[in-house]
């Protein structure tokens, strides 16, 4: 291809945007609406996941040992637990550390009367899990280890978090499916309008002897620009909305921040920006290819 033809093709792609202003605006509006819903949903769902993940990390399992168990056996038990795939981290808490922590958390000045550690059997392992749904399997295993006296865990919390995780997964799948269906419907409608506008133009090009590539290229460039703009607009709106909502929460509900941690706008946009731009450009690319292809067999 000649350089002048290449530049001509690119120039035509840009000019097409203005030649069919109503089609351009309709396409941008369609892609923007779909990606706005997608972005909004993504921001909400990732924050939910973030909150649940934080809750899971706080949730732990404590393992206590038989009275008088030797230090070497305690170490062996620690190694066995650490090998388990569902274990994210394991931390040994000595009896003295446990007593110090208990004093600080609950007794404070009332602890002054104690001269010795009243809970000498409180040495334990604190275990955090990768996946809270695996808690019951781990607990069964831990109870079967010889030398383990007691395993402390919260079954309700684990079940609730597992349930929330499953719910988020189902809701995600459901909403993504609905969004996809709506997007395909809207985009196919827009493409149909585009076809009627372009049919004659494509036919003329083909009669004169244009190759499929020559006919298609300006439309593809046009489609990709539309996709890029269609993705950029909702990203800008969501960025502004996210910051506004976060500021509002911090200002009006400061207590909420203490036990719910939200993602920063950067954390959300690190993924949302490339994914939205990719989807936008992809839709524009495929939409234009499909639109033009129907008329290339002239």
């Amino acid at each position: 291809m000649r350089i002048s033809t290449l530049f001509y093709t690119i120039r035509q792609g840009f000019r097409n945007l203005f030649r069919n202003k109503s089609f351009t605006l309709a396409s941008i509006a369609t892609i923007s609406s779909c990606l706005f819903l997608f972005g909004l949903f993504y921001a909400v769902i990732t924050n939910f996941q973030h909150i649940v993940r934080n809750a899971e990390q706080v949730l732990g399992v404590s393992v206590f040992f038989d009275e008088g168990l030797e230090d070497s056996r305690i170490e062996e038990i620690g190694q066995l637990i650490a090998k388990r795939p569902e274990v994210a981290s394991i931390h040994f808490v000595s009896a003295d550390e446990a007593w110090e922590s208990f004093k600080t958390d609950y007794l404070r000045e009332y602890a002054d009367g104690f001269t010795e550690n009243p809970i000498p059997q409180s040495a334990n392992y604190q275990i955090n899990l990768n996946d809270v749904s695996m808690q019951s399997a781990l607990v069964t295993y831990l109870k079967s280890i010889s030398g383990v006296r007691e395993v402390n865990y919260s079954e309700i919390a684990a079940t609730t978090l597992t349930g929330i995780n499953a719910l988020i997964a189902y809701v995600s799948i459901g909403i993504i499916a609905i969004l996809l269906a709506v997007s395909i419907f809207l985009i196919s409608n827009t493409v149909t309008i585009g076809i009627s506008v372009r049919k004659e133009e494509i036919n003329i090009m083909k009669y004169i002897g244009a190759t499929d590539f020559f006919v298609r290229s300006p439309f593809v460039i046009e489609g990709m620009i539309i996709g890029l703009i269609g993705a950029g607009i909702p990203l800008g709106i969501i960025y502004f909305l996210y910051n506004t909502v976060m500021d509002y929460i911090v200002e009006r509900f400061p207590a909420l921040i203490n036990f719910l941690s939200f993602l920063t706008v950067q954390e959300v946009f690190n993924v949302l920006t490339p994914v939205s731009l990719g989807i936008g450009v992809g839709i524009g690319f495929l939409g234009s290819i499909v639109t033009v292809r129907k008329h290339l067999r002239v």
């Binding site: 030649r19 009669y207 004169i208 002897g209 244009a210």
Partner: protein
């Protein structure tokens, strides 16, 4: 690479005198009704031929077959050495660049001006900007539109729009010019001007095929006339005239 297919597609002597050759060509649409039936037509390089006939006689189907917009159902069709029954899809653009086409409804790009409409045909054959700047004004001068190169199609009369279409068809120096009812939307004065231009183009060596209903023009110009009726050639006369139905 399928060498044998290439051999089949290109005729050995593409500069033969005979430039269009149809042997026993039939075309039936999916409804089953034959649009053309056992058509034999041979046109030599440099000829001027009128294709006449009533609506539904198969004239438009013939033009579409010659452009390879449609494929034949049976027979052989050869245009400028291309076997159109076997030509590969990717070779069709190159084939069409040797054919200029003019339609009754002009088919100009409405959002581009006269210059851009003509230059567009040159872009397709990848002419350089320098060549385009030289060729387009010169062809516009030939069709008498040198002063209107900035006008949009809607600002032109029917006759002027047809001249733009003609300029677009001619700018790449086609071997064959197909004109499908070129005067169908024009008044008698403009019709005659367009026909004079077609005659001039033919005198410069281009083979011209004109599909028309215009009895007066056909009878006055005394060219070869091929008459179609219900998909069959009923008459083919040198210096012929318009044959009435019935």
């Amino acid at each position: 690479m399928d060498v044998s297919a290439n051999r089949r597609t290109k005729r050995t002597a593409s500069d033969n005198k005979e430039i269009i050759s149809l042997n026993n060509v039939s075309k039936a649409y999916s409804t089953g009704a034959p649009a053309l039936k056992d058509v034999d037509l041979h046109i030599n390089r440099g000829e001027f031929v009128f294709i006449v006939g009533d609506s539904g006689s198969g004239k438009s189907t013939l033009i579409k077959l010659l452009l390879r917009e449609l494929t034949i159902t049976s027979g052989d069709i050869n245009v400028m050495g291309y076997d159109l029954a076997r030509i590969k899809h990717r070779k069709i653009p190159k084939f069409r660049r040797n054919i200029g086409i003019v339609f009754q409804d002009f088919r100009l790009l409405k959002d581009r001006n006269v210059y851009e409409n003509v230059a567009f045909a040159q872009r397709i054959v990848q002419k350089s900007n320098k060549e385009i700047r030289k060729n387009v004004p010169s062809i516009l001068a030939i069709v008498g539109l040198a002063g209107k190169y900035k006008a949009r199609p809607r600002q032109l009369s029917g006759g002027e729009q047809q001249r733009v279409a003609l300029a677009r068809a001619l700018v790449n120096n086609p071997t064959i010019l197909l004109a499908d009812e070129p005067t169908g939307n024009l008044d008698p004065k403009n019709s005659w001007e367009i026909m004079k231009l077609l005659e001039q183009i033919n005198e410069n060596g281009t083979t011209v095929l004109v599909v028309t209903h215009n009895r007066e023009i056909v009878n006055a110009m005394q060219k070869r006339v091929v008459t179609l009726k219900k998909g069959v050639i009923v008459s083919d006369e040198e210096k012929g005239g318009y044959i009435d139905e019935d």
